[in-house]
C-alpha cells in the first residue's frame, strides 16, 4: 500500500531512454517524507497518514511546531504538512521515513501543484480570445474581448462569461504522468512532461487514480521511411535515358488500361 508523497519541483531536463529516444522530463525532489500523524478509524473515523516534506526551510507557526514536537520531529527543515488517505493506516508509525522508492518507473502518477501566477490577465491570454484586427484602421481593439452577449434579450451578461481576471496561482492536478525513472539515493522522481508551478514549488504526487493504458512514446528517427530514396537511388545517367524509361512506363500503363 502506498501513500501519496510531497515533493519539490527542481526543473526540467531531458533523458535518453533505452532505445535512444529523448524524453522531456520534470525532476521532482521527492522526500524524504516523515509521517507526522497517523489517523485511524477508531479515533478519527478514517484511515490516513499525515506527511511532512523535508528539505525546505520555512518558518512554521508555534502550533505546527508543537504538532511536530508531539511526533518527535521538531526540526527546521520540515514543512508542507499534508494528509493522504490510505486503506489501512496500521502499518505506519510516527516519524517513519518514506522515500520515492515506492513509485515504480513505467507506472503513472497524478501530480498536484499550484500553477504559476499570471496576475490579472486579459481575455487573450486567459481564454485564448483572438483579439481584434491588427490593421484596417483599428485602434485600441487589438486585444479587446469583443461582445459579451446579446442585447435587450436577455438584457444581462450570463454568469460565467469569459472575461479578464486573475489567472494562475491555482491548484492544478495533472493526471497520468509517466514515471520515467527514480533515483532513491538522491530522492528524485523523473516524470515525463511538464508540471504546474515554478521551480522549487511543492508538488504532491500520488499513484494515478485512473492509470492510462499506454504512455505516449516519442518517435524514433527516421520517422518515415525515406532513407532508401536518399541512399540508394541510382544516379541519373542522362536525361534522355530517363525520358525513354518514362515513355516506356507510360506506354505500359496505357496498355494495361486497354
Amino acid at each position: 500500500m502506498t501513500t501519496g508523497m510531497i515533493g519539490r519541483k527542481l526543473g526540467m531536463m531531458r533523458v535518453f531512454d533505452g532505445s535512444g529516444r529523448v524524453r522531456g522530463v520534470t525532476v521532482i525532489e521527492l522526500g524524504p517524507n516523515y509521517v507526522t500523524q497517523v489517523r485511524t478509524p477508531d479515533r478519527d473515523g478514517y484511515s490516513a497518514v499525515q506527511l511532512a516534506f523535508s528539505g525546505r526551510r520555512k518558518r512554521l507557526t508555534q502550533a505546527q511546531r508543537g504538532h511536530l514536537r508531539k511526533a518527535g520531529l521538531e526540526r527546521e527543515t520540515l514543512t508542507a504538512l499534508k494528509e493522504y488517505r490510505v486503506d489501512d493506516s496500521s502499518g505506519y508509525s510516527l516519524g517513519q521515513v518514506l522515500n520515492c522508492a515506492q513509485f515504480e518507473p513505467g507506472t503513472f502518477v497524478d501530480l498536484t501543484a499550484t500553477s504559476k501566477g499570471r496576475g490579472w490577465a486579459g481575455g487573450v491570454k486567459r481564454w485564448n480570445f483572438r483579439g481584434g484586427p491588427k490593421t484596417h484602421g483599428q485602434s485600441d481593439r487589438h486585444r479587446a474581448p469583443g461582445s459579451l452577449g446579446a442585447g435587450t434579450t436577455p438584457g444581462r451578461v450570463y454568469k460565467g462569461q469569459k472575461m479578464a481576471g486573475h489567472m494562475g496561482d491555482e491548484v492544478v492536478t495533472v493526471l497520468n504522468c509517466l514515471v520515467v525513472a527514480t533515483d532513491p539515493e538522491r530522492n528524485l522522481l523523473f516524470v515525463q512532461g511538464s508540471v504546474p508551478g515554478p521551480r522549487t514549488s511543492i508538488v504532491s504526487v500520488r499513484n494515478a487514480r485512473r492509470p492510462a493504458l499506454k504512455a505516449y512514446t516519442p518517435p524514433v528517427f527516421p520517422t518515415a521511411e525515406v532513407e532508401a530514396v536518399i541512399d540508394e537511388a541510382e544516379p541519373v545517367e542522362d536525361a534522355e535515358q530517363m525520358a525513354e524509361q518514362n515513355a516506356e512506363g507510360a506506354a505500359e500503363q496505357s496498355e494495361a488500361q486497354e
Partner: protein, 118 residues
Amino acid sequence: MAAINLTDLAQPRPAHLPALPEFGAGDTVRVQARVVEGDRERLQPFEGVVIRVKNGPAGNFTVRRIASGIGVERTFPFNSPRLEAVAVTRKGRVRRSRLYYLRGRTGRAARVKEARRG
C-alpha cells in the same frame, strides 16, 4: 540541504561507445548512427560539414550534406546512445561558429577551406 544542480544529472555518453574526437564547425565528419529498419538495426553513415556545435549538458551538433542534390541536415545529440562513432575526415578553416550561410549556397560556393596544419 543544497539544491541539486540539474546539469549534474545529465546523462553522459554511454561508456561502451568509443570516445568522440574533437571537432568543430567547418570540419567534415563521418557520423555512424544507429538506425532501426523494421526489426533490424544497422549503422548508417552520414558524412558532411559540421555547421553548428552546441555545448552543454544537452549538447548536439548539426551536420549538413548534399544528398541527391538536396541539402540534408541532421542533428545528433552528443550523448545519444544512437550515436555510435564520429570520424573527422577533414579539418575546415572557418571564421565563425555557425555556418548557416552555407544553406543558401550550392556547389563551389558552398565549400569550406581546409585548415592549415600546425
